[in-house]
Symmetry: C2
Subunit: 389 residues, 2 copies
């Protein structure tokens, strides 16, 4: 019998016998990574926590309290629904920012829910002011987003200048945060970053004294110019390397293990999997495990991904199926290849960044796609507070 | 104001104002596609419904009743947890098969839950018999899976022959279904299919009279040799073309629409999105919408995907972000490019198969990844029965 990995040995839930896959998320590692980001900052600057996309797939309702316990007070989500799903967990004095701002007609809901919109356009700014006039209780806090070269969301510098050249419309206050987003911070030599920093400085000159927010995970590790008063770490919290050109300054967070459903010793050459993309010779030993692309393991990693079984690295063979992956486990002692043994598909040896490299994407897409059907096990962090509001 | 698409006009839920994306699923189209598959079969053969992976992302708790209403009685899921989540919705006389069979230790749970395992290996067959002996109430129904050339799950022909050469172990009955799975049925000329059909016939000769199941979506449309007594349509139910070399015999099911968050007319050339992978010239008009790869829109479709706005096809520009996509909407009348307007990202014009083609994958992976955060709207089908057991 394979020795269970430390993650699954520490917390074996009731459903493990029925499950074919286990996703283990280390909340203490997330908190530690947040502290590592906060430790890079000059005095006076603070780190927020980005918990959009269900905390990059790690579970926003578990991650928010873990970050709050570490000292985080400012949280960012992408959508109103994401904010409403975690709002009850905010610590005292906590702030919850919604990056996409209110879609038309959702201003009153955001305002009444105490959410802080990131206002990305003149339309959003004017709609937010109008909602304040309609409510009759004065301006509500908002962040303003200025586009400095990513051309995605945000006010142009010219729009910001025009807005500030006249008295603010009734119902609008100065923002509680002036933010922008870097397009190429993961590439340390990219010339666009310097241009974005310069443009952001010109924007800030129009709103002196307003707190700034520029750096996300990569920007935090590029020094003060790409940080701002409040940095927004996301990817690094979840173990993705914010500085791909160097060893990672953060700890791994996620482990995905899949149960062997069936082992097989080939008696002759056999094609493997959909499309018969590969034929293995006789005497190879295969194991098929219960994870597939419907669990977020990318189909593009067929014939390329790697697992770890009993300490041995084992390659994926054939295409990834919806619910199944086959691995060549010939190098593993046969006694370890039995139904129920767990193959590690993501973990310290082969992490989300590495799997992304095999699949032609980035670790962010791997994490946000993971684990819809897997049994989830959390390590560390505050106790689970169940399903929410 | 843009005219809403028919899908979103028919059923506008309360949460639409706050949502940035809407996923519309046509349950009547799913039922119609099931009838189209059933209509291909010779007298005596029947069609099951494959609803694994949450019915390919379409929602198993809505799809199962819609298929049952159309006459479907046999359902396939991949995992025990998937079966337990829909078991209460089975119609009278309905059967629920679990394709991965019981992991070690889960036999009693499957048996007590009335689920029918697909037994894929001698280990699973002997464990199922042992569970029957322990229960003391006789054999419980099971399907047996024979591997005919995919080398993924299933008994070898030799293992099956050995099993049938002796009296069955106590606790084991003949299977209620003998099944196999085709590796290359989507490719009409592939020689492996004929070999699999032959091998399956030899397996069936060992268990004469036992009902068979061979064809899934593609096999159904390749004629009687690749069908069997019970076919297992999955992909085709959800609108994926089972015969990629020909126009699709099934109707579209899924529509994904994303709300414009911000429009922008470029005053000068601008790089767009992460990595500044593309620079657009002045006077192009862009729109950024609230869907990204965290919603299952594949990152590999950056600079390649297509949307439809106000009847005009609009290309994706730049990389796909986690929560956002930018499109070039220059060809659309400017009055139609306003915050809140819906861009169709998947639908009859550009469907899951087409998006998969842009992203180097298959429609199956697109569907199973979709819509974790989107507002869901169902068209047709029986009423919603809420959250389940």
């Amino acid at each position: 019998m394979e020795t269970p990995s430390p993650a699954s040995r520490l917390a074996v839930p009731a459903g493990l016998a029925a499950a074919t896959a286990v996703l283990t998320i280390d909340l203490d590692a997330i908190a530690g990574n947040w502290r590592a980001a906060a430790a890079c900052l000059p005095p006076g600057a603070r780190a927020a926590g980005v918990i959009k996309a269900d905390a990059y797939g790690c579970g926003a309702r578990r991650v928010l309290p873990a970050l709050a316990q570490a000292g985080c007070r400012d949280f960012f989500v992408a959508l109103i629904d994401e904010a409403l799903a975690v709002r009850d967990l905010l610590p005292p004095g906590g702030r919850l920012f919604v990056l996409s701002g209110p879609p038309p007609g959702a201003e009153a809901l955001m305002r009444e829910s105490g959410l802080i919109p990131v206002l990305n356009s003149l339309e959003q700014i004017h709609a937010w002011a109008r909602a304040a006039r309609e409510a009759g209780t004065g301006p509500a806090p908002a962040a303003w987003h200025v586009d400095t070269g990513m051309t995605r969301l945000g006010l142009d510098l010219g729009e910001l200048a025009d807005l500030m050249a006249a008295p603010l419309p009734e119902g609008l206050a100065l923002p509680v945060l002036l933010m922008s987003h870097l397009a190429c911070a993961d590439d340390p030599g990219h010339p666009l970053t310097d241009r974005q920093v310069e443009t952001f400085a010109r924007a800030h000159a129009l709103l002196p004294g307003v707190p700034t927010s520029l750096g996300a995970s990569s920007g935090i590790f590029r020094g003060p110019a790409t940080q701002g008063d409040l940095v927004r770490p996301g990817a690094l919290l979840y173990g993705l390397n914010p500085t791909p050109e160097k060893p990672s300054p953060v700890r791994p967070v996620v482990r995905l293990e899949a149960k062997i459903l069936q082992g097989r010793l080939l008696d002759a050459p056999h094609p493997v999997g959909y499309g018969a993309t590969v034929t293995l010779p006789a005497h190879r030993r295969l194991a098929t495990v219960g994870v597939g692309y419907a669990d977020g393991y990318p189909r593009a990693a067929g014939n390329r991904g790697l697992g770890v079984l009993a300490g041995t690295v084992v390659p994926v063979v054939g295409r990834i199926s919806m619910d199944l992956i086959t691995l060549d486990v010939t190098e593993v002692p046969p006694a370890q290849v039995h139904p129920g043994a767990l193959v590690e598909l993501l973990g310290p040896t082969f992490d989300a960044d590495a799997l992304a490299g095999c699949a032609g994407t980035i670790g962010y897409e791997i994490l946000t796609g993971l684990g819809r059907r897997c049994l989830r096990v959390y390590l560390g962090g505050p106790p689970d507070t169940q399903e929410g509001p």
